[in-house]
């Protein structure tokens, strides 16, 4: 048997249904990672801070969505309307959180040495998760099923859940909107300019503080969308989900090249798929290990990430 035949036999032997299922699983998780990691990467791009409280924003987004959905459900809204309104409420609420966190925990430390805001971020993260623990509960809470069921073509039945489908599509739309916003709007351009050279941006009349606030607001809004989406997918949430999701999304941001927006999107999707394939084909119990092994390998062999640029300074 020659090589060509060997390859053909191998390809024929692949269980394509299972493979597709893993791809969908990876894209679902990856989309969520991407949504969260955008907040990390945008904030890092503009003030070189890893905002460790960002994962908690995602968790608060999920809780806000749950509370809003509960209230709306009580008044008898239709399910499809509830998810949209709940997501909008979560986005607004989390954006306010992001804005406030920056204002009280990072802005006073703007000219301090780099370690101080980082520690402040970790403190903020612990504070927020404990605050939700006290204010809500330590148990897992059930999140209502809000996304409608879709009748897929036969091939996809059983391997693609409609919530996955919604997550992938919504994330794609949100990320396209973000890209257009960053590329073409006045505020988006000012964000890029401020990220590239804050002093010069100020010399052009750009209010850097306001741009930084806007970055936190946008990043937190994205995390909130991620939170509501994942909650309606797994249908259970808890005060601690922000921690692991935050670290995974951070890994995705580093994988894509921290500071790079397309990098965060790509990094999220790649990380999600890697996890999905690794658990689907090799080691089903060690999902988290895969992500952190990737983090370590990236930090050692390609610290600038997939799409990040090694910094070259022109004199």
């Amino acid at each position: 048997m020659n090589t060509f035949d060997a390859i053909r036999t191998y390809v024929l032997e692949i269980d394509w249904r299972y493979f597709t299922e893993l791809v969908f699983g990876g894209l679902t998780k990856g989309s969520i990672y991407a949504l969260i990691s955008l907040g990390y990467t945008m904030v890092y791009g503009i003030i070189e801070l890893i905002n460790f409280a960002h994962g908690e924003i995602y968790m608060i987004g999920a809780f806000t969505g749950l509370i809003a959905a509960g209230v709306l459900g009580y008044y008898g809204f239709p399910a499809a309307g509830i998810i949209v309104v709940a997501a909008v409420v979560a986005v607004i609420y989390c954006s306010a959180y992001g804005y406030t966190i920056e204002k009280i925990a990072y802005r006073p430390l703007r000219s301090a040495q780099r370690l101080s805001p980082l520690i402040s971020a970790i403190g903020m993260s612990i504070f927020l998760s404990n605050y939700v623990l006290i204010a809500q509960t330590q148990d897992f809470v059930r999140f209502p099923k809000l996304l409608p069921d879709i009748q897929f073509p036969e091939f996809f039945q059983g391997i693609l859940r409609s919530s996955s489908f919604f997550i992938i599509v919504t994330s794609a739309v949100v990320m396209i909107c973000l890209t257009l916003f960053i590329k073409f709007t006045r505020l988006g351009k000012a964000m890029r300019a401020t990220a590239q050279n804050r002093k010069m941006a100020m010399l052009l009349g750009i209010n850097a503080d306001r741009i930084i606030s806007a970055t936190f607001i946008v990043g937190s809004g994205l995390a909130a969308i991620g939170g509501v989406l994942i909650a309606s997918h797994t249908q259970q949430i808890n005060f601690n989900i922000g921690f692991i999701a935050g670290i995974k999304a951070f890994t995705a941001a580093v994988l894509g090249g921290i500071g790079s927006i397309p990098g965060a999107m790509l990094g999220g999707l790649v990380l999600g798929c890697c996890e999905s394939f690794a658990t689907g084909y090799f080691i089903s119990d060690y999902e988290d290990m895969v992500a952190f092994a990737i983090l370590i390998l990236i930090l050692i062999f390609r610290p600038s990430g997939l799409l990040g640029k090694a910094k070259v300074q022109k004199v």
């Binding site: 890029r192 300019a193 002093k199 052009l204 209010n207």
Partner: protein, 237 residues
């Protein structure tokens, strides 16, 4: 007539180190005024103080009679002061076009902005060819042209230039200085900080010499060009 920009007894510190000592200086509307001096004399600090980037500890900065030393830099830009900073500070990942748009960040008059973009493309045709290229790919001279154009996009009443000739080929320097003169003739007041004293003094109406944070000499450009100490210190004999 009151001056456009006036510094009165300006003292600026970096931490505990005093960088400017009682700097007095004035610029009238329509002038090109230059501030020459060696490395570390405090020239850039003077500009940064005017722009509100470095805090002023004592003294006053009056722009058209109004004290601006406590304003934030974006407020100062709004009053009509633009800076072409040392090292050009082009946004490397923004295109030439986007860099220019950022120069007009505070303006909302779209059609006039388009007009001004065409105007700077007329001044520097090379930028028009490179409009979709990112700023980081331009040569040093092109970046300087872009930095000047970006400052012009704000339609400043007063333009501050920090070492525009730094690191450029003589032929480009001549072109840059021609443009500065032309910008001035079209009604923008220019405050030029330079180490390249011979070029700067030729183009300037009036000049100040700065040494270790103090103004030590002032007068018309021609007068300083002829001055013995200036010749010895800055013009090579």
């Amino acid at each position: 007539m009151s001056s456009m920009l006036q510094l009165k007894g300006l003292c600026t510190y970096y931490g505990n180190i005093q960088a400017l000592w009682d700097v007095d200086l004035k610029i009238d509307e329509g002038e090109i005024v230059t501030l020459v001096g060696a490395n570390g004399a405090g020239k850039s600090t003077t500009l940064m103080s005017v722009c509100g980037v470095v805090p002023v500890r004592r003294g006053e900065i009056l722009f058209e009679g109004k004290a601006i030393q406590n304003l934030k830099s974006d407020r100062i830009v709004r009053l009509g002061i633009s800076q072409v900073p040392e090292g050009r500070l082009i946004f490397p990942d923004l295109t030439v076009m986007e860099n220019l748009e950022m120069g007009a960040y505070l303006r909302r008059d779209k059609s006039e902005i388009t007009k001004d973009i065409n105007y700077v493309f007329e001044l520097f045709p090379i930028l028009a060819n490179r409009r979709h290229q990112s700023g980081g790919t331009l040569s040093g001279g092109e970046q300087q042209m872009l930095a000047i154009s970006r400052a012009l996009m704000a339609r400043p009443r007063l333009m501050l230039l920090d070492e525009p000739s730094l690191g450029l080929a003589p032929i480009i320097i001549r072109q840059i200085f021609d443009i500065i003169r032309m910008v001035n003739e079209r009604g923008t007041t220019v405050f030029l900080v330079e180490q390249n004293a011979s070029q700067a003094l030729k183009v300037a109406h009036r000049a100040y010499v700065m040494e270790t944070g103090r103004i030590t000499l002032s007068g018309t450009g021609e007068k300083l060009l002829a001055d013995k100490t200036v010749r010895r210190a800055y013009l090579g004999g």
